[in-house]
């Protein structure tokens, strides 16, 4: 008997613990969805999405462990006005207000047995933007964004806009930021006022999901944002370094190209590589022209000058790029360049007879 009572006691204790945990969990929900008491019972309101943005539709659901809500008369109030009414209407779609507003939701449920329950919540919309770029190499006046490649880093910035009703926008120092990488919290980057992060780029061919959750320190509002960031392979682009115009970034060489001059200097630009500049000492260039390896100029290793005088004017330029410390980085490409005019048969020539092996 004692054993039986002990078992019952354990079951009862476990049940109470579960209910208590559930109650505590619901009480621990974000402060923007606050709940009220009534004499007969409590309605719990859950909000989806958890962090609604300004003017975003929000689905609000009711829940109660004791009352059968499906047979109850339910009335929804939004900012003290009846919004919707019906039997078993346990969900309502409500639009969040603009940034800086507070939408108060109040719901009542009356069962056929006369039981009564009510609850309330409030929605304070917030916005969080997640911006990112890589610290990979792009030319000085490049108009696009630097993209991450293996070995580079990603700089991220969260811009959160929390504006409690009737007050000014919260400053960064009053916001708690939690950064996640592929679902795992990065504790070293998270904390009060930590709105930016430097994260290593995804592995070769990989994609990382970066998330940031921002919440007001006083719990009045919260928001989150996420970004899928993929690693790209560095892109080798060849331009002419013209004596008058400099590097002609507007005209990348295609696989086959022709030049009117008989001599030209070519500049290779390693877009999105782990480098400070094209002549970064960590970059290893391997040039060849018509199959002959050409030693790099130590000062301008990213450049190659080809003189097609006394030749048929066709050059097969090949370039392979690797990195001294980043084994994941490699890129190679070849271009067939025709110098001067009237050379339409490709037989090859050696522009550097003295240097050939």
């Amino acid at each position: 008997m004692g054993t039986m009572m002990t078992k019952e006691g354990r079951v009862a204790a476990a049940g109470a613990l579960i209910i208590l945990s559930a109650v505590l969990f619901l009480f621990a929900a974000p402060a923007y969805a606050q709940f009220g008491n009534t004499a007969d019972g409590r309605l719990f309101l859950s909000v989806s999405p958890e962090y609604p943005g300004p003017n975003e539709p929000v689905l609000v659901s009711l829940w109660n462990a004791i009352i059968d809500l499906t047979g109850s008369d339910i009335t929804w109030y939004v900012n003290n006005k009846v919004f919707a009414q019906g039997v078993g209407m346990t969900k309502a779609s409500i639009a969040a207000g603009p940034l800086g507003s507070e939408t108060n939701i109040f719901a009542t449920a009356q069962t056929r047995d006369g039981l009564y329950a009510s609850g309330n919540a409030s929605i304070s919309p917030a916005e969080v933007d997640l911006l990112w770029e890589s610290d990979s190499y792009t030319p000085p006046l490049y108009r696009g964004r630097a993209l991450p490649s293996a070995g580079t880093g990603v700089r991220a910035q969260a811009i959160a806009r929390f504006k409690p009703a009737g007050s000014a926008q919260l400053p960064e120092r009053d916001i708690m930021y939690t950064w996640k990488r592929n679902g795992s919290v990065v504790a070293s980057l998270s904390g009060k006022g930590m709105s930016s992060a430097y994260i290593r780029a995804p592995a070769l061919f990989g994609t990382d999901i970066i998330e940031v959750a921002a919440s007001a320190i006083n719990g009045s509002a919260g928001g989150r944002a996420r970004a899928e960031i993929s690693s790209v392979e560095p892109v080798l682009v060849l331009y002419e370094n013209h004596p008058l115009f400099g590097i002609m970034y507007n005209r990348a060489f295609d696989d086959t190209a022709s030049l009117s001059d008989t001599e030209a200097t070519f500049a290779a630009v390693p877009y999105f590589a782990e480098a400070e500049n094209p002549d970064d000492p960590r970059l290893i260039y391997s040039w060849s022209v018509n199959g002959k390896k050409i030693p790099s100029d130590e000062l301008n290793r990213s450049e190659l000058t080809v003189n097609s005088a006394n030749s048929n004017g066709l050059a097969q330029i090949a370039l392979s790029l690797t990195h001294a410390s980043n084994l994941a980085m490699s890129a190679s490409r070849a271009w067939r360049v025709s110098f001067g005019s009237g050379n339409d048969i490709f037989t090859g020539f050696n522009p550097f007879p003295a240097l050939s092996e």
Binding site: L131, G144, L147, S196, V237, L244, F245, Y249
Partner: protein, 443 residues
């Protein structure tokens, strides 16, 4: 043995002959050099006299021999004939251009190879070199409305150098034969993007910080006074300054990557467009209207929004906002369709929200923005008129198939009559004449 008088005479005569021969050789050498310089100038599209202060003709000096390529409205070389709708202004690469304030015909531009500033009168065809100070390999030139200019180039260390200068007027004492001196100062290094503040004689620029971020700076033209108005741990921003005083910062775009555009208001960033893939952004002066483009999933889309809280309209043309320009035409030169005799009071004129966009006739890349910014692909564009108010688009000009035009950095004159742009294929300067628009009147 002493030299005789006769021997001395021979030596003197020989020396004189050698001197004359040397002088003759030197003369021919100099002549040869002058011919080489002349040929080089000609190859750059300038006649030998162009570097002097002489006034010439656009077609003869800059685009001689090219008119048959761009002729659209008959023989424009005939006196009195209207100029073609599309004109090639330069044969050589330019670094930037601007219309003269309040005019529709004077176009200033900077030559890329020398950094010289020229003015071209598009109505008379006269071209004039305004400066004589050389800035070799100028990659970018940014003009202000008062004739000041920022010339940007890459130095030997790979840093960005920005020289902010003002062109001396023709009455200035600094004017010398062959143009005026461009006086000014170098701004701080590594300004990644710069625009003149359209509402004041200041500059707005983005400069990289040592820790990888960037500051948005409002600076005096000489760079002596500066104020940081914006800071970010990210460096890839570009600024936009409008004449109505508004300032925007836009995150640099990449295909498929979320883009953001913000207005700087009271020190805070107010979002204008959020989370748009491959975002390119073009706000309208004096209204809240915007055009923005998206590039993602291998396709381009262009949207218009007339007001901040309005729904974005998807336009039936596929291009990027970088290839668009808002019309500057105002109601002052509008025409009304309602005869005055029937109206008791003049109908208020409504300025239409009109933009002009260059639209690629076909796009061959799945990552258009990345490839286009790298110069790896070029487009062949036609020009479309976009009436955001009426939600209509209209083709206004399609170049010949053998004249591909890849429009970059379009600008419009104050009267809304011309659009100048750079052809990204060869960085040459072009001019498109726009027919006057009809302004609608409210009933």
């Amino acid at each position: 043995m002493r030299p005789t008088k006769k021997t001395l005479s021979y030596v003197l005569v020989l020396a004189a002959l050698l001197m004359f021969a040397g002088l003759g050789g030197w003369y021919f050498f100099l002549n040869r050099q002058a011919e080489t310089v002349s040929a080089t100038d000609a190859s750059r599209g300038l006649r030998s006299e162009a570097p002097s202060r002489s006034v010439g003709n656009i077609y003869n000096n800059i685009v001689s021999g090219i008119t048959s390529l761009v002729e659209r409205d008959g023989d424009e070389t005939r006196e009195g004939a209207s100029p073609p709708q599309l004109q090639k202004i330069t044969k050589t690469p330019v670094a930037g251009m601007a219309f003269g304030a309040g005019t529709s015909s004077v176009l200033y531009f900077a030559e890329s190879s020398t950094g010289y500033i020229f003015s071209a009168d598009t109505s008379t065809g006269a071209v004039e070199r305004l400066t004589n100070r050389m800035f070799p390999k100028t990659q970018e030139a940014v003009f202000s409305r008062d004739g000041s200019v920022v010339l940007r180039s890459i130095d030997e260390n790979g840093d960005i150098a920005s020289f902010a200068g003002k062109i001396a007027t023709s009455t200035s004492s600094e004017t010398v034969d062959g143009g005026a001196t461009l006086s000014g100062k170098y701004l701080e290094r590594n300004i990644s993007a710069i625009v003149p503040a359209a509402f004041s004689r200041e500059l707005l620029y983005i400069v990289k910080t040592p820790f990888g971020g960037a500051d948005g700076v409002l600076s005096s033209w000489d760079g002596m006074r500066r104020k940081t108005v914006f800071s970010s741990p990210l460096s890839g921003w570009y600024p936009i300054s409008l004449a109505d005083g508004r300032i925007f910062f836009v995150l640099r775009p990449a295909d498929n990557a979320a883009g953001f555009a913000y207005e700087l208001k009271n020190g805070s960033l107010v979002p204008q467009v959020r989370d748009a893939r491959g975002l390119t952004y073009l706000p309208n002066t004096s209204s809240a209207a915007i055009l923005y483009g998206e590039s993602g999933g291998g396709s381009l889309a262009l949207f218009a929004r007339a007001q901040n809280d309005a729904t974005s309209l998807s336009l039936p043309i596929r291009t990027v906002a970088d290839k668009c320009v808002w019309s500057t035409e105002g109601p002052a030169i509008a025409t009304t369709t309602t005869p005055k005799i029937f109206s008791k009071k003049p109908a208020p004129m409504v300025k239409p929200l009109v933009a002009y966009c260059a639209v690629p006739q076909f796009v061959t890349s799945n990552a258009f923005l990345n490839d286009w910014y790298r110069g790896a692909i070029h487009t062949s564009d036609s020009w479309w008129r976009v009436d955001v108010s009426a939600d209509t688009v209209e083709l206004i000009f399609a170049p010949e198939m053998d004249t591909p035009i890849d429009v970059e950095s379009p600008i419009m004159d104050d009267r809304g009559e011309h659009i100048a742009f750079i052809n990204a294929i060869d960085k040459t300067l072009w001019l498109l004449r726009i027919k006057p628009e009809k302004i609608k009147t409210t009933p």
